[in-house]
Amino acid sequence: MRASGFSVLSFVLVALAHVASAKAGETIVVKITDLAFVPAEVSARVGDTIEWVNVDFIDHTATASNGAWDLALPAGSRGRLVVKQAGVLGYFCRVHPNMTGTLNVNEK
């Protein structure tokens, strides 16, 4: 039957999509430009990767406010981090602490 065949197919597709995201996670890009994290607030799920791309001519860091991680981001570089814990986590740049950002991390 046509209708049920369609729903079985969409179920399979959703299941496949779920497996794929559980495996690889998504990459969420945060640009660092003119002394700001853009966007300053991003949502992610456990297992996703946050990638910071520093297009400024000076070095920055992405440093977790709770001390969990501290990523050096030299001028023109990019740095990645896989998020491992759900929750709201603030971060900042150690060199320019008025640069701040927030990760909203949900369960997988």
């Binding site: 003119d34 002394l35 001519f57 000076i58 070095d59 001028a75 740049c93 150690r94 060199v95 320019h96 602490p97 008025n98 640069m99």
Partner: protein, 176 residues
């Protein structure tokens, strides 16, 4: 010992520049003078940081000084590339001269200190110095600059130095 008041005097000199003795009334500093003042201010902060790297044993103070050398060099390199591109020769002026004179005296005083006393005095001076320079950028140097690229570089510089000010304030709080 020099009173922090002396530092606010730098701010006062810079802030009163447009109507003051350094520049023709109403004209404000020229781009060639602004470039010289901004470059000089950065260079003086690098010199203070180099002194801190010679003298301080504190890991956090040394890390801050490393940041100052790296950032101010990066900004000054940009400034040099820009004046070259614009074919402008930075022009010495009374504001630059008073900045140099005051910073030289301050460094001579810091050189007589050591240990925790040095760290505290260096970091407190960094707070006052960045406040003074940022104030001058906001009220005089940025509004007076005619060239768009120079203005834009000064605006980026201001954001960088506002970051340094906050960092220095945190550090000063932790040394108390």
């Amino acid at each position: 010992m020099r009173h922090p008041k002396a530092l606010y005097a730098i701010a006062a000199v810079l802030l009163t520049v447009p109507g003051g003795l350094a520049f023709a009334a109403g004209a404000g500093p020229s781009d060639a003078q602004i470039a010289h003042i901004a470059y000089t201010a950065g260079d003086l902060d690098i010199k203070a940081a180099e002194l801190a790297l010679e003298k301080s044993q504190s890991k956090t103070v040394r890390a801050f000084a490393d940041d100052m050398v790296r950032d101010h060099k990066a900004v000054n390199d940009k400034a040099l590339a820009l004046v070259k591109k614009l074919n402008v020769s930075p022009e010495d002026n009374d504001t630059s001269k008073s900045l140099v004179k005051d910073a030289d005296e301050k460094r001579a005083h810091l050189a007589t200190l050591s240990g925790a006393a040095f760290d505290k005095a260096y970091v407190e001076n960094e707070v006052a110095y960045h406040k003074a320079v940022n104030g001058a950028l906001e009220t005089t140097l940025i509004p007076s600059s005619d060239n768009g690229e120079l203005k834009s570089l000064l605006e980026t510089g201001l954001k960088i130095f506002q970051g340094h000010l906050k960092h220095a304030e945190h550090l000063a709080g932790s040394l108390k």
